[in-house]
């Protein structure tokens, strides 16, 4: 796909990390001889993202997600491989490239700490060379969309985390980026605020046909926004495809929830009982056995209700993160 918004080919990032043992002697020795270790944070990943696509980039802490986003936004130079965003090599940090992307990190503050956000917005207007009228139009619409009209006049340091995040997002989108890298944009926020930001991202993407790459530890974010997910672990891509296909690939089992006519009975003979709540018994059954086990239960038990489901996405992701796909 040559017209991909994001194209990553065998991308590698290696960090050289200093290390030493604990204690005074080791500290003194490190004065003379410094010991370092190579860490391959990203190890040969490849993928493409089409214009207008929204992709969830999932992985446990230290998997290489943020490092990848930092390479794609031009903050880090790649160690090997190739990355292109909107046709640009990110690490060259060309003006045209930087004017068309944005990286929003949930724990980072880009606004002037001591001044109201409106002042920072004005600074961004001048940095991104936005003519005044369209700037005011965009600013006011974003402020309205995220409902931060009463916040943008307060010094940023006096805002709560959630308030700051919303204001931060306004500041990051004033130049209407075509590619949006969102790194944990809802981290630390309450459920209402998370939902608000999710809705906003969906709306922004729809209106601007923006390409969005999102990392989040909240599966609700991913389920609400992303059809496609890329799962990364130890710098390697473990899965790249539609979210619903993740369970098929990673989890070789399904759950069967059974309600019996005479209350919860012993169903351990059909599979692993993972949950028993009142009348409902939930079994874990190997995918290949699902049809046969279902038929047996229906034939041998007085069944009121029976549901066969893929495992919850949280469980699947947990499996991937644990590095033990079954």
């Amino acid at each position: 796909m040559s017209d991909a918004a994001v194209r990553v080919d065998r991308l590698v990032k290696v960090f050289e990390v200093p290390e030493r043992d604990e204690g005074l002697r080791a500290a003194a020795r490190s004065l003379v001889r410094r010991r370092t270790r190579e860490v391959r944070a990203v190890d040969g990943i490849s993928f493409e993202i089409a214009p207008g696509e929204i992709v969830g980039f999932l992985g446990p802490n230290g998997a290489g997600k943020t490092t990848t986003l930092k390479m794609l936004s031009g903050l880090l130079h790649v160690s090997d491989g190739d990355a292109r965003v909107l046709g640009h090599v990110p690490s060259k940090r060309e003006r045209e490239f930087l004017s068309r992307i944005s990286l929003v990190m949930g724990n980072r503050n880009q606004l002037q700490w001591d001044l109201p956000a409106l002042d920072s917005f004005e600074l961004n207007r001048s940095i991104y060379r936005i003519p005044r009228d369209p700037f005011l139009e965009t600013r006011d619409e974003l402020v309205e969309l995220l409902e931060v009209g009463d916040l943008v006049r307060k010094p940023v340091r006096q805002l709560s985390l959630g308030e700051r995040m919303k204001v931060e997002i306004v500041g990051s989108l004033l130049h209407r980026p075509q590619v949006l890298f969102l790194d944990e944009p809802t981290i630390g926020l309450d459920v209402t605020m998370q939902k608000r930001i999710r809705e906003f991202v969906a709306e922004y993407r729809r209106r601007h046909a923006a390409t969005v790459m999102l990392t989040s530890h909240y599966m609700a974010d991913v389920e609400a926004l992303c059809e496609r997910v890329i799962v990364i672990h130890h710098g390697h891509i473990l899965f790249d495809g539609v979210l619903s296909g993740l369970a098929d690939t990673v989890a070789a089992w399904k759950t069967i929830a059974v309600v019996l006519e005479n209350g919860a009975g012993d169903l351990s003979g059909y599979g692993e009982v993972i949950h028993s709540d009142g009348d409902v018994v939930t079994l874990r059954v190997a995918k290949s056995e699902t049809a046969r086990v279902t038929a047996r239960i229906l034939a041998e038990q007085d069944v009121l209700d029976l549901n066969v489901e893929d495992p919850p996405i949280e469980d699947v992701i947990e499996l991937v993160f644990a590095g033990e796909p079954s």
Binding site: I101, D119, S126, Y128
Partner: protein, 282 residues
Amino acid sequence: MSSVSAVAPLRQESRLRSLADFYWTTIRLAVVEQFQYRAATYMYILGMVAEPVIYLVVWSTIADQSGGSVNGLTAGQFAAYYIVWTLVRTMNIVFTPYGWEWRIREGQLSGQLLRPLHPIHYDIAFFAGGKIPWLLYYLPIAGVLAIIFDPTFDVRPAELAVFAVAIWGAYLIRTFNQTAVGLVTFWTTRVGALFSLYSVLELLLSGRLVPLSLMPGWVQSIAWVLPFRWTFYFPIEALVGNLSDAQLLAGLGMQVLWMLIGIGVFSLVWRHAIRRYTAVGN
């Protein structure tokens, strides 16, 4: 939920015009921020005035005890030197290597690297803007010092004009030099020791501690070929000394030379340094 109306990317203004707009916006922002912290500013001014006043009292006393002058400098000339010194010191405050160390170590540089404008522009504009309130604070201080110490001023229009240019030249030279020192953090993680060495050299060879004319000849020779003299002594000398027009122009020429060297060194270091950025912490 309401919606964002325009779909197309925003049109951008021309490069030069937008750069001027950026500088103006940042300068205004810096002024606003300076006014926001009045108490801190007053304390900072006190500290700023204390240093030259101590030098001034010491040298005035020595001059009085030495029959009215030291190496040809009278008490009135010392007063003029240190009153202008205070202004020059104020005007050439720049973003320090410690600031760069913080940016790099804590990953704070990330936000600036994501912008389509080199971070050095922000530093130059912001610290230039910070000088506007400082000038307002300086004027009454200079007035009080003048009343107390009775300085000798004999200023020609050409000297005033060169001084007005030279203080900005000094500011830019210090900006590029100290930024280059700060960028060493990319290799060493901490830059304090190197900056301490730099500061000692600057203190001795710039005319900050002692007017260079009081230094031994060989020290003056070394100072002539280093950048520090052109960031302190030359602007002060341009206003309170007796430099000929040719010497004034030569001084400006040296400032241009050191500015070009500073830009060159800074650009070279930046090109290599930025590849090492790990954006840790942010």
